[in-house]
């Protein structure tokens, strides 16, 4: 191949025919948009809302309904954002799978790993809270999880200590 040349010409007849069919509908529409619509449109901006961070539920007094309401709306916003992030990671894996199938199990593994980690994290924070999920319920879930972890660790430590004692006694 000669360097710096045009890309090889596509002389596939069927592709050319399909492209011609597509163009019969596409060309007038594109012409209308480029010649009539775009010159006449005005240019003006729109912005994304920036929300300030407010105190979370663990920083609120227990009888303060205003702080509770703000923490709740912030929790719902954060949950929506995290759900979208999870959705994007899932779409990345799915696109890779669609493209690489049937080798997707090996080639798309990094996407799968990242998605699974993100899914686990999402479930730890927001999962199993029910339909009327609250910032307070999520906070209580975290508290229960920490208590459970602490008890389980203590139990496992004691179990290992017992096993060690038993073994030491035997020798």
């Amino acid at each position: 191949m000669v360097q710096g040349d045009q890309p090889p010409q596509d002389d596939n007849l069927f592709r050319a025919f399909a492209h011609a069919l597509y163009t019969t509908v596409d060309a007038p529409v594109t012409w209308f948009r480029e010649k009539v619509v775009e010159p006449n449109q005005k240019k003006y901006p729109w912005y994304h809302r920036q929300y300030r961070r407010v105190p979370t539920i663990d920083q609120c007094y227990s009888d303060d309904p205003v702080c509770d309401f703000e923490a709740n709306t912030q929790f719902k916003r954060d949950r929506a954002v995290d759900s979208e992030i999870l959705s994007i990671l899932r779409m990345r894996y799915e696109d890779c799978m669609m493209y690489e199938s049937p080798d997707h199990l090996t080639i798309c593994k990094p996407f799968w790993e990242k998605y699974k980690d993100a899914e686990e994290a999402w479930f730890i924070k927001y999962g199993d809270l029910g339909a009327y999920a609250d910032a307070r319920k999520a906070f209580m879930k975290q508290k229960h999880r920490m208590v459970w972890e602490k008890h389980t660790l203590i139990y496992e430590l004691e179990l290992q200590q017992e096993i060690k004692d038993h073994r030491d006694m035997k020798t």
């Binding site: 449109q41 901006p45 912005y47």
Partner: protein, 145 residues
């Protein structure tokens, strides 16, 4: 005129068809065509330094912006109004809870009477007394024991 079946439904259909097209479809599609071709949707940009955008500038399509500007209320305003309402109701709740607690303690200890003073208006008592006196003067105390 020959005797024919009724063509009322057909005439009514044409009537309604023309009504919905002239008053509905044509003006609405003209508005939509004008806004999409001659005004067009906005471009997304980062917020400039030191500028606070108005609440309708957070929407993309010009018709959505119009509705947000002239028909809907500012969401931030509604949020803050609701928080004020929550705070006011909470203060009322605290006052009522305090009053209930005080009354409970007064009932329990029986050491204060001042809070129980109920101001009376004796106007209706006097009217009833006058009616009773008038009745007595008229009828007397002649009754069966």
């Amino acid at each position: 005129m020959a005797l024919q079946p009724s063509r009322w439904q057909w005439h009514k259909f044409k009537d309604m068809f023309h009504y919905y097209i002239m008053v509905g479809l044509i003006p609405v599609s003209a508005i939509i065509f004008y806004t999409n071709v001659f005004i067009g949707p906005a471009q997304l940009e980062p917020i400039p330094e030191g500028y606070i955008p108005k609440h309708w500038e957070y929407h993309r399509h010009p018709i959505t912006r119009f509705i947000a500007r002239y028909i809907h209320t500012n969401p931030q305003q509604e949020y803050e109004k609701f928080m004020h309402f929550l705070d006011e109701e909470h203060q009322k709740m605290k006052l009522r809870a305090l009053e209930k607690e005080i009354l409970k303690k007064m009932a329990e200890r029986q050491d204060y009477q001042a809070y129980y003073y109920r101001p009376m208006v004796n106007k209706y008592l006097r009217i009833n007394k006058k009616v009773g006196d008038e009745l007595y003067n008229r009828v007397g105390d002649d009754y069966e024991e």
